[in-house]
């Protein structure tokens, strides 16, 4: 603890030292005076003999210090004092940097949550996911039951392997409102793969995947809290799932969550006989979670799984042709299946540009200050301060600014993350992801602050340390305008700011335009005043088509009695929500043209559908109540279908056949053509589409469409009531207006646009203030010169032109660099974001002019001020 004692006693040592040295000098002086010198001469000689008092004192004191650390500390204190003395400068620099750091850290919180996801369980790095690779190389596809069963037997790669069907929905009834919940059916050993046990009760036991023993249920923590009031007595209770009794055996812990998958409960996965047949190979719906056996590497697992997939391909060429298998680590798989990586990469690039501009601003400010302090630095160098010491002092100043900026930035980040979270609720999977100011974000802020400090202070510091002592002391502003190299560096900074700002703005504008056009495209039908809801008729109550049809007829009758309800219909898929694509045959024609198999989107609708969504027939008729089970089978096609497959010939009266998963439906006659509806609201594509009549082919899964005379949401309780009167145990899912459906399909797009827009604007504002600051400073440095020019007869417009042309020259160079950087952007974006259009050369022109106008304005204010320089005052100054 000697160092601690030193720390407290060294003040005394410092004083002792000062007293000793003073007495030393004093005694020597007196001695010299005794030899006959005058007091003044004696003092001078004594001091000269002694040497640099301050330096010797400093050296002596260093004995008591940790030299480097302490001199940095002293530098820091000095820097703080300097900064406090220039509050305007400090505030600008800190605020600029904190904005840059905050936007970066806020975006990074998403990176941390989505790309560095929390993985549950024990040694999650050993958990892998086996998925299918389709012939089109779209990997991360689910696996079929026969493949799962075969692979589980054939490989020793994994110590444990489980299958899960992660995306099922069930009706949960008994104890309150019936509701639809997302759930997963899993092999009994599913939880063992992850190495998690139940928070309450137990997980599944071996053998509970056999029919008869499989009516056991595990609740997610969230569902247990919401529906069972977090009561321990929930264990052992019987609940009704799809009208069958299940016993609750366990509750999982709250942190058992896989990014993007949000099942609210789990039941055992039971394979039917059909699942095990060859036909079952077509039904790919399982993800395989497995734990690597001891000593097995990921590479080895990948290689061996590819071999196993090859075996399946040889054994079942009809089903498995060109299908393969992939193995990924759990984290990798989750990130991959979430598909948010590219959007995050774009956002992170955008914010890093913002940070670069912020750093350039701070560098400019420091440069400006360093130029103002040239004399001070020259004095310090001439008094014996080493260059390293001067650089360190200036870098410390940058560091202090960066740390203050980082601290303020952290506060702003906290606010930013709160705003972000409020906007990250557009779907269940996203809102289940915990975006927060976690350790990763804190580390990120620290690192970014340090990088910013280095970026923004090193160049000005090196520059300043090269101050030549002689010229530095001589170089009064009376004799010079700003030093040449300082001016060059400043120009480079402004150029850089303009280049990065321009590139960022063009990029964001292109993206915003692309996404905006897509979000505001005409879908082809009327979305307003439509209430929708999803229904899934279960097998238990509605075993076949006639029961389903009976229910729908009753439902439509009931719905029409709701006051304020207009047209009512049901449809297998809501419009513009990506219905299934099926192969089709046209009577009397080959099934393909130029190698392309005929196919069309398939939607089953009730007769009232077209009127309800305001989609009038272009030719022929729509469905009627008389198009029932026993009537001749009829279909409708859309305009695109008629154009693509009939090419000018009349489609009416032609017969087509739909091929549903190998089972062909009867031929149907085309009785009408309706106008196009976009296949998916977030895609500009229009595909050929076939409409079937619900009366002729009822389905168990469908959506209700209800046209309301008022706000559609006002009818939702009446809708629920009507359905519960027909079947009290039938849950209604996704009761929402059609506009909400479309909005949900936009996913993160609006947020993406808002974020990009904010960053673009922030970059522009930062760049503008930076440019303004640097030009204003250059004008203030040249006050003297301008004064001389005016005194010699230059008029105001000459001065204005001179300053503006300097700014303009810089702007042109910066813009040229920025444009060159932005040129490959559309190509890049096309590769990243399929389905968006980025071909918009006018954007370049618009953004360029906007940037030039802002730059001109930023230069104009100081330039105008320069024209008011009074030569007499300017020359008398200093």
């Amino acid at each position: 603890m000697q160092w601690l004692k030193d720390l407290f006693t060294r003040g005394r040592h410092y004083r002792d030292l000062a007293v000793s040295i003073e007495e030393h000098l004093e005694e020597r002086t007196e001695e010299l005076m005794d030899e006959g010198m005058s007091r003044e001469a004696a003092e001078t000689v004594a001091r000269r003999e002694f040497g640099n008092v301050t330096l010797i004192q400093e050296r002596s004191r260093e004995v008591w210090q940790w030299p480097t650390l302490e001199s940095i500390w002293a530098d820091k204190r000095f820097a703080l004092r300097q900064l406090i003395r220039a509050p305007g400068f400090t505030a600008t620099a800190v605020l600029t940097l904190s904005l840059g750091i905050a936007v970066n850290a806020t975006m990074f919180s998403m990176v941390s949550a989505f790309l560095l996801p929390h993985l549950p369980g024990r040694n999650p790095q050993n958990v892998v996911v086996v998925s299918s690779v389709s012939p089109h190389q779209r990997d991360a596809n689910p696996v079929s039951p026969p493949n799962y069963l075969a692979w589980r037997e054939d490989t020793r790669l994994f110590s444990e392997m489980a299958a899960a069907d992660e995306s099922r929905t069930a009706s949960l009834t008994g104890d309150g409102e019936p509701e639809t919940v997302r759930y997963a059916t899993v092999s009994p050993n599913y939880f063992e793969v992850f190495g998690v046990s139940a928070a309450l009760g137990r997980t599944f036991r071996a053998g509970e995947d056999e029919p008869g023993r499989d009516h056991v249920l595990i609740l997610s923590h969230a569902l247990w809290e919401r529906r069972f009031g977090a009561e321990r007595s929930a264990i052992g209770r019987t609940v009704r799932v799809n009208r069958e009794n299940y016993v609750v055996v366990g509750v999982m812990p709250a942190d058992f969550q896989l990014l993007g998958f949000a099942p609210q409960m789990w039941t055992p996965l039971v394979f039917s006989a059909a699942n095990r047949t060859v036909e079952g190979r077509k039904q790919r719906f399982l993800f395989l979670f497995a734990r690597l056996a001891h000593g097995i590497t990921l590479q080895r697992a990948q290689a061996e799984m590819a071999v196993l997939a090859k075996h399946s391909e040889t054994d079942f060429p009809a089903m498995e042709s060109r299908w393969s298998a992939a193995v990924r680590t759990l984290g990798d798989f989750l990130i991959h299946s979430f598909g948010i990586r590219t959007a995050l990469a774009v956002l992170m690039t955008a914010v890093s540009f913002v940070l670069l501009i912020a750093c350039a601003n701070v560098a400019g400010l420091l440069l400006t200050r360093a130029a103002g302090r040239r004399k001070e630095l020259a004095i310090r160098v001439s008094l014996g301060a080493s260059r390293v010491r001067v650089v360190r002092q200036l870098v410390t100043e940058g560091l202090v600014i960066a740390i203050l900026g980082g601290g303020t930035g952290l506060l702003l980040t906290d606010i930013g993350i709160k705003i972000l979270r409020a906007n990250l609720s557009f779907n269940e999977a996203i809102s289940a992801v915990p975006v927060s100011l976690d350790v990763n974000v804190l580390l990120f802020v620290l690192v970014v602050s340090l990088i910013s400090a280095t970026l923004s202070s090193l160049v000005p510091a090196l520059k300043a340390s090269h101050t030549d002592t002689n010229t530095g002391l001589k170089n009064e502003s009376r004799t010079s305008s700003a030093g040449r190299s300082q001016g060059r560096l400043r120009t480079a900074l402004v150029c850089g700011e303009i280049a990065f700002g321009l590139c960022l703005l063009i990029g964001t504008s292109l993206l915003i335009r692309g996404v905006f056009l897509l979000d505001h495209q005409k879908l082809g039908f009327s979305t307003d005043h439509l209430l929708t809801a999803a229904v899934a008729l279960d097998r238990a109550q509605y075993s076949d088509g006639s029961h389903q049809l009976l229910f729908v007829r009753g439902l439509i009758r009931k719905l029409q009695q709701i006051p304020g309800a207009g047209d009512t219909a049901v449809a297998s898929d809501l419009p513009a929500t990506n219905p299934e694509t099926v192969p089709i045959h046209i009577e009397g024609e080959a099934d393909s043209r130029a190698g392309e198999q005929y196919s069309a989107l398939d939607t089953v609708v009730s007769p009232g559908y077209f009127h309800a969504i305001r989609l009038p027939p272009l030719r022929g008729r729509t469905f009627r109540e008389t198009d029932g089970e026993n009537a001749p089978r009829v279909v409708l096609v859309n305009q695109e279908f008629a154009n693509r497959y009939f090419q000018g010939r009349d489609p009416l009266g032609k017969r087509i056949q739909l091929d549903l998963q190998g089972a062909a439906l009867p031929w149907g006659e085309i009785v009408g053509v309706v106008s196009n509806v976009k296949s998916y609201s977030e895609d500009a594509r229009v595909d050929p589409e076939v409409y079937e009549c619900f009366l002729q082919r009822p389905t168990a899964y469908f959506s209700i469409l209800l046209r309301a005379s008022a706000e559609p949401d006002s009818l939702s309780s009446a809708l629920r009531h009507a359905v519960s009167q027909l079947d009290p145990e039938l849950p209604l899912a996704r009761v929402m207006s059609m506009q909400t459906v479309i909005e949900r399909q936009r996913n993160g797009n609006p947020l993406f646009i808002r974020l990009l827009g904010t960053f673009g604007l922030l970059a522009l504002v930062l760049a503008a203030t930076g440019i303004y600051g640097l030009i204003a400073y250059s004008v203030s440095q040249r006050t003297h010169e301008i004064g001389i020019r005016v005194a010699l007869g230059a008029n105001r417009s000459d001065v204005l032109r001179m300053i503006l042309s300097e700014g303009f020259r810089t702007a042109v160079i910066g813009s040229a660099i920025g444009l060159a950087m932005a040129l490959p952007l559309p190509k890049l974006f096309d590769a990243i974001f399929a389905g968006l259009h980025f071909g918009a050369p006018e954007i370049y022109l618009i953004v360029l002019s906007a940037v030039l106008v802002v730059t001109a304005f930023a230069a104009y204010i100081p330039a105008r001020r320069a024209t008011y320089i009074d030569p007499t005052l300017a020359l008398r100054d200093q």
Binding site: D6, H13, D16, L17, V19, S20, I21, E23, H24, E26, E27, R28, E30, R48, E49, F50, G51, N52, L55, I56, Q57, R59, S60, R61, E62, V63, W64
Partner: protein, 114 residues
């Protein structure tokens, strides 16, 4: 601060040795120490203040010296440095090692002469 060409650089540890020895004779303040060494060595050795004060601090820190408030020859307040017990032990050790070194050097020089 120009050096008298007649003087030579001290070897490492020499300054410490001289300080310890001088202070063993009697406690002194800084300037007195400089003068003492100068006088005793007949102006052959001159201590640079640039090294004296840091060396004093170093020895203080190591506990070889202690300092306390005192009065200078001229009656002004100053700090008097005094050897501690540890300082005395160090001096003895240094002196014997210096003697050995000197003996060694002398022998080597003697061989060259012969």
């Amino acid at each position: 601060m120009a050096k008298d060409p007649g003087q030579r650089d001290l070897f490492a540890g020499a300054l410490e040795l001289m300080i310890l020895h001088s202070l063993r004779l009697k406690p002194m303040h800084g300037y007195a120490l400089v003068k003492h060494i100068k006088q005793v060595s007949d102006n052959l050795l001159q201590i640079e203040e640039g090294s004296l004060y840091p060396a004093l601090q170093r020895m203080l820190k190591e506990g070889l010296l202690e300092s306390k408030a005192g009065i200078s020859a001229k009656g002004r307040p100053t700090r008097i440095y005094r050897l501690t017990a540890a300082g005395k032990r160090r001096l003895d050790r240094e002196v014997s090692s210096f003697d050995r070194m000197l003996a060694g050097i002398t022998r080597v020089l003697a061989v060259t002469e012969a």
